[in-house]
Symmetry: D2
Subunit: 122 residues, 4 copies
């Protein structure tokens, strides 16, 4: 799905992951803004990988739930989702992600996610 | 965005909207399940349109927030998101959507969304 | 806490629990409506017990997360929270609760919760 | 409700509000931890007042929805909820609250809320 929409990992650190997505017209909704589903896709993926950076080798990560507040229209040259782990647990990890719209050198917060990821041992 | 992922409106009634999405490999995540972002995209769109069916002509609808619980892996021949308005208001409308995976004639509930839509007068 | 606010279990079945709360002036917020925190307290407790009815003996239940939409002012002679399990899992159980305000024989939906409970083995 | 549970405003600044709640045994759930409903009550109230600090005179504030992740058992000498406005709008304001358990001089994050408040003009 990341390939389909053209999203790429731009930062991976323990407990922190960023994903970048250039604007494309086929990712928009009826007003020309990037679709809430696209915003959620990169936020959820960033949250999942941020949680995963703190999980043991050979485990797997799945999203349990997330909540997204859409704060402003998602328009710009690109989107950046930045996820940070709030609380890492053995089974459940709670993560927050902010999604910014980038226009030239300006960042605007367009959405924020709070979600739960689960660690599946293999 | 609906075109990009191949989703189509399959039912529109006052306060109820369904969206269908055939399985495609380029919509999956790392385990081969349909990505949570795709599940959310069709659920959010169904919620938005379900709210919109009850809004006055010439208004517009935007998503304020939503919360998704991912209940089971989203695998199947197709997904069906069914949204129903819980409470329509002048400004805010609360909507719920269930997302089912369809395999032959079986429906399995894979996710459920509870969200808020806003009516913008033009 | 249930004692402090005067809430009582009024129905317990496998996967379904109801909690009733008579109106009291010391449970209100600034407009005289029952406080969102009170609405949440009985909804969360109903969700926890509904999940618990499907868990093995000697396990314990804790709330992982919940989301509440407040639909209408919570005013009436009493509140009724009705929780139903949507998906029971070995570790996580997803539950929904509707909270109704009762005035004489009328029920009005005032809030709805979607949440996740965890089963802790003892 | 704030009186009933013994909560007090401890900080009010533009866009930021803190509420403090001393531990009391009648505010607990079955394991002796402070009830998720109590945690939510002070977080929601802090969010509402934080939003209210940025609203015009003679307006009123109501909670639209909130989502709470319960991160750790809420035990300690007292709880502190700190709410900060993320995005203030004319109609809707999005607020986040962290709830900490205080034991002597240590703060532990026990819950986090993300919610939406609405401004009602009078």
């Amino acid at each position: 799905m990341m390939q389909l929409i053209g999203a790429t990992l731009s930062l991976v650190e323990p407990g922190v992951v960023e994903i970048k997505l250039p604007y494309r017209r086929d990712l928009t909704q009826q007003h020309g803004y990037l679709h809430a589903g696209v915003v959620t896709t990169i936020a959820d993926t960033a949250c999942g990988y941020a949680a995963y950076t703190l999980m043991p080798a050979r485990s797997e990560v799945l999203s349990v739930e997330f909540k997204v507040n859409l704060l402003r229209p998602a328009k710009g040259d690109s989107l950046l989702a930045r996820a940070e782990v709030i609380k890492a647990g053995k089974t459940l990890t709670v993560v927050r992600a902010d999604v910014f719209a980038l226009i030239e050198n300006n960042r605007t917060l367009v959405a924020t996610m709070q979600g739960t990821m689960i660690c599946l041992a293999q």
